[in-house]
């Protein structure tokens, strides 16, 4: 489960930039995952924020918002595997929901290699037992990859296969997110 996002535009205080910036912040609830110390949690939060901004930056039409900053803040309520992927997907949906102009929705999936098999969207146990993992964030309509992280050793064919599987997953996910967004908009239009 990933918390909702409230991006908002705010005046930049750090000098002039001709394009907008994304300011990402990720927080885990203390009970989201078993973590030994506060420092470890902070490290995980920073790494997740870094990945998130990388994945989203390419999709937002930041050149249209000079001097602006979008604060994207996320809260991971419960980490049940593949949280980074869910984080990216949810954040992109929130950006779209906030009316920020995007090239396309970013959807992300995780694929793990487990005993020679490729598994899409692993659970926590599957992720723990994996020999290799692949996180892919892409804009599915153009096939543009915005973020990618591979760990573990991958054979030539395996990686290609994993990529294809992940891209397919991204496409599926994008359709689902798109529908959810449209439904939300319709509901709001109906309510007004």
């Amino acid at each position: 489960m990933v918390g909702v996002f409230g991006p908002r535009q705010s005046e930049v205080k750090l000098g002039f930039t001709d394009t907008g910036r994304l300011n990402c912040e990720v927080r885990y609830t203390s009970f989201a995952a078993a973590r030994a110390s506060k420092a470890e949690q902070g490290q995980a939060e920073a790494a997740a924020a870094q990945a998130l901004s990388q994945a989203l930056e390419a999709s937002a039409q930041l050149e249209r918002f000079p001097k602006a900053v979008f604060d994207v803040s996320a809260m991971v309520l419960e980490a049940g595997g593949a949280d980074a992927a869910v984080l990216v997907t949810a954040a992109s949906a929130a950006l779209a929901d906030a009316g920020v102009e995007l090239h396309d929705l970013v959807s992300a999936v995780q694929v793990v290699k487990c005993g020679g098999q490729l598994l899409l969207d692993p659970s926590l146990e599957e992720g723990g037992a994996a020999e290799g993992s692949l996180l892919l964030a892409a804009m599915a309509s153009t096939g543009e990859v915005t973020h990618m992280e591979v760990r573990g050793r991958w054979g030539d064919g395996e990686l290609r296969e994993g990529l294809e599987l992940a891209l397919g997953g991204c496409g599926q996910l994008r359709g689902a997110v798109r529908e959810a967004l449209l439904a939300g908009m319709e509901e709001r239009a109906g309510g007004a």
């Binding site: 489960m1 918390g3 909702v4 996002f5 409230g6 908002r8 300011n23 912040e25 927080r27 609830t29 203390s30 009970f31 989201a32 995952a33 078993a34 604060d71 803040s73 809260m75 309520l77 419960e78 980490a79 049940g80 007004a192």
Partner: protein, 306 residues
């Protein structure tokens, strides 16, 4: 024709929105004059509540509570500790409330997340711990002087749309009631460790160790806003901002008051108003405790299935 009528309604919408922004007081007065509130509720009605006990499976106990649009997530994490020497027969309960960055437009990064909710923490602390019999800390004790549970209750305010205190208290109670304390095993070395599920019934289990957090009473809160001569039960954030005067009443299942708070403000509350607020809080308690039992039941069933 059709097109002109649409533009007219759009213009009306815009105007109403603008009116609300520019003259919030007049906007509000008009509604109250009619005896309704901007969201369509009568003055005395509280918002609908949903309680999801056991919402987070990775926590030892949890609850997601929504009061209207206000949503709060509470989770309990357990840890075995050696009890404090001054209180060998008691466990510990640590409270923490945090505001999620996206919960309120007033939130600014940089300011401490707990600063804005210090009042809430304080009331929660008073409701749960100061009474000595609300959370029964002795039920957290496993072996006197040797092992006890420390429950870390973290409450995250996900969306703050008024009455955060009420929702936080409700979620905390629900999460604590939802908490299942694992069995404890005494290892060969004399250390106490939580037993895994598979080890249930195995040797070395501590006899009669507690299975749930004992609650002597069940305090729940209700906030009312005083605005001019009106009493608004369970206000939204907009209403709270406008009224600038709120009375929070904490009441337990027997109708005994656990706390009455009024932090100044423009409107004075006489005895009759205070009684009205306490009465409303009692009614609300009845309503909520039914929901709470139901949700806990469902949470327990879901846990049993797993």
């Amino acid at each position: 024709m059709a097109s002109t009528s649409t533009t007219a309604t759009v213009a009306d919408d815009v105007e109403a929105e603008a009116f609300k922004r520019l003259y919030p007081e007049q906007f509000f007065d008009r509604f109250l004059g009619e005896g309704v509130r901007p969201d369509g509720r009568p003055l005395g009605r509280a918002r609908a509540v949903t309680i999801g006990a056991g919402a987070i499976t990775s926590a030892d106990g949890s609850a997601l509570v929504k009061v209207g649009r206000t949503s709060v997530l509470a989770g309990v994490r357990l840890e075995l500790i050696r009890p404090d020497e001054t209180t060998p027969g008691q466990g510990q309960l640590a409270l923490n409330v945090e505001l999620a960055p996206f919960s309120s437009p007033d939130y600014r990064p940089g300011r401490s997340a707990t600063d804005a909710v210090s009042g809430v923490v304080e009331k929660l602390q008073a409701a749960l711990l100061s009474g000595k019999d609300t959370v029964l800390l002795n039920t957290l004790c496993v072996a006197e002087g040797k092992a006890a549970w420390k429950a870390q209750l973290d409450v995250y305010v996900l969306d703050a749309d008024g009455c955060v205190t009420d929702a936080v208290l409700l979620a905390s109670i629900a999460a604590l009631r939802n908490t299942r304390l694992p069995l404890v095993r005494n290892t060969k070395e004399g250390n106490y460790v939580p037993a895994r599920r598979a080890e249930e019934g195995a040797a070395g289990l501590v006899e009669g160790c507690p299975r749930s957090v004992g609650l002597g009473r069940c305090p729940l809160a209700l906030t009312c806003c005083l605005y001019k001569q009106h009493v608004l039960v369970d206000p939204t954030a907009d209403e709270e901002r406008l009224a600038e005067c709120a009375v929070t009443v904490v009441v337990d299942q027997g109708g005994r008051l656990q706390g009455v708070y009024k932090a100044g403000g423009k409107v004075l509350a006489d005895a009759a108003t205070l009684l009205k607020c306490t009465e409303a809080a009692r009614l609300r308690h009845k309503e909520l405790s039914g929901l709470l039992e139901q949700s806990l039941q469902m949470g327990a069933e879901a846990a049993a299935e797993r």
